[in-house]
Every structure is written in structure tokens, then in C-alpha cells.
Symmetry: C2
Subunit: 128 residues, 2 copies
DNA sequence: ATCCTGAATCGACAGACATCAATGCAGCCC
DNA sequence: GGGCTGCATTGATGTCTGTCGATTCAGGAT
């Protein structure tokens, strides 16, 4: 059943509207941590932008100056974060994006429309 | 002019539409890495959701079971990532969200509207 | 000036992480 | 079967990071 460890319980209505409780924060942090590496970001973008929606590992590995085990490790972390999934098909393994997860992250980072921000460009009290 | 190190050059049209080049990936990863810690996520959400748009450090610190220097350290990382900014006002220091950055992240994680995903529930591969 | 308070910085340390070479495992082909 | 290829796992290693106590710095109050 392919790990798919956790990181599924991201129900939070939005990081920016109410304080996160600790459990939510821990879950969310796992996903952002998975995104917090240049190699994984490039892997994710290569997978997500691929016409057809899936990529063979053999197309990913040569794009980096890293060993094959290292790429495999990064793919595993992205998968455990719920950002991608994979399937073995004969000799090759194919990865694809899980758009529900990126959608969820985008929603979490989106502020409610009518939120009036205090105008920082002309603060009331500060001259000079 | 308050560090504000880098992490400003996030022009990328979207993580999910085209492969990121390495420099873009490195910049973006810094921001996501800043979000990849539960304490920083909670700090950010406490700051962002505060009515009035700003929070005094003295209101943040007691919400955690961590030392004051540790909180200060996390705030510094969030600030270096461009997610928050701060100002000293007399004895106290106030922090607020930089919504441009979260907006940018949300945009980066958002797929272009008309993107037809391959239907994973009924793979078409075998036919034809 | 002296003291006090709130916040940032410094130095140290344990745990986490990225990376590699070596190995293991699964599926193809001869 | 035997060998080959593609990918995952293991074990080791150097670096990064989260945390703390101690210290320092900035501003107000006495």
C-alpha cells in the first residue's frame, strides 16, 4: 500500500486567519519541510509540469549532479509528504503529482479576500 | 534597513507549470524551509491572524514552551525569508505579516485553471 | 547616572538531514 | 537459469539546525 505516512490531516482553514494549534502545525511543517530543499523543489516541478502527468525516474536522475540513491531518497520524502505518488510499471517507476496537496497548500496560504491590511506604506506616527 | 537578505526574486510563474531552474529552486527553498518548522508556522499564524496586523514579541513568547532566545531566533528566520517584518517601538518590538510573500507562495502552488489532469482512476494507458 | 525590562546575539551541543558507496531487490531479455 | 538494468534500502559521514544558558544591547523609569 505504499507508505503515504501521514500529512493527510490538513484540514486547517488557513494559516493566516487563525492561530494554528500545535498538531496542525506539526503536520503542516512536514509538508513545507519537504518543499524546503532545492533538489526536491526541482523534482516536484519536473514531475508536475510534465505533459502526460507522469515521469519516469530514469528521466529525473540524469538532470541532477547527484547519485541515484540521493534522488531516490528525495522522491521518498516528497511521497511521504503526500505531494507525489508513484507506481512501478515493468522495469520503470513512474511518479506523478498529487494536486490535492498543492491545492491545499495554496488554500492555506491564501488570505480571505476582504482582508484590509493596515497601510504600512504610510504609517501614522513615523516621519522622516 | 533590516537585513531582508534575499528571497525576493521569486518571479517564477509557477512551480507546477515548468521545471524550475536551479537558482529559482534555491531561493524558493529558503522560504519553504522557513515554513518547515512547527514553531515558525505557529508564530506566523499568530502574527498573521492578529487583529490590527501586528503582534508584540512579548505576546508571542509566552505561548510557547521555549526560551526567549529560541523564539527570537525563529522570528529572525521568518524575517530573513521575507515572510514577516518588524519594527522597534520604544521598549517593545512588533512583528507583522508581509502578505506579498504568502500571496506569491500561494500563486506558485496554484495550477493554471484549465489543466486537465490525467484521470488516475481509469488509466487509459492499455488501450489504443 | 543607575537600575530594570524586553529583545537580540553569542557559544555550545545534541539531534536531524543530505549525500555517497555498497548492497539488495524486482523485472526484463537471452 | 544467468545476467543485465532500474530503482530502493542500508550504513556511514560531514554539515546544518533547533535549543539552551549567558551575555549584550536598547529604552524607559527612578
Amino acid at each position: 500500500m505504499l507508505g503515504q505516512d501521514d500529512a493527510a490531516g490538513l484540514c486547517c482553514p488557513g494559516l493566516l486567519t487563525a492561530p494554528l494549534d500545535e498538531d496542525q502545525a506539526v503536520e503542516l511543517a512536514k509538508v513545507f519541510k519537504a518543499l524546503g530543499d532545492p533538489v526536491r523543489l526541482r523534482l516536484l516541478s519536473m514531475i508536475a509540469s510534465r505533459a502526460g502527468g507522469e515521469v519516469c525516474v530514469c528521466d529525473l536522475t540524469p538532470a541532477f549532479d547527484l547519485s541515484q540513491p540521493t534522488i531516490s531518497h528525495h522522491l521518498k520524502l516528497l511521497r511521504q509528504a503526500g505531494l507525489i505518488d508513484c507506481e512501478r510499471r515493468g522495469t520503470w517507476v513512474y511518479y506523478w503529482l498529487v494536486p490535492e496537496m498543492t491545492d491545499r497548500l495554496a488554500a492555506i496560504l491564501t488570505r480571505p479576500a476582504g482582508e484590509a491590511l493596515p497601510d504600512r506604506t504610510a504609517p501614522a506616527g513615523a516621519a522622516s
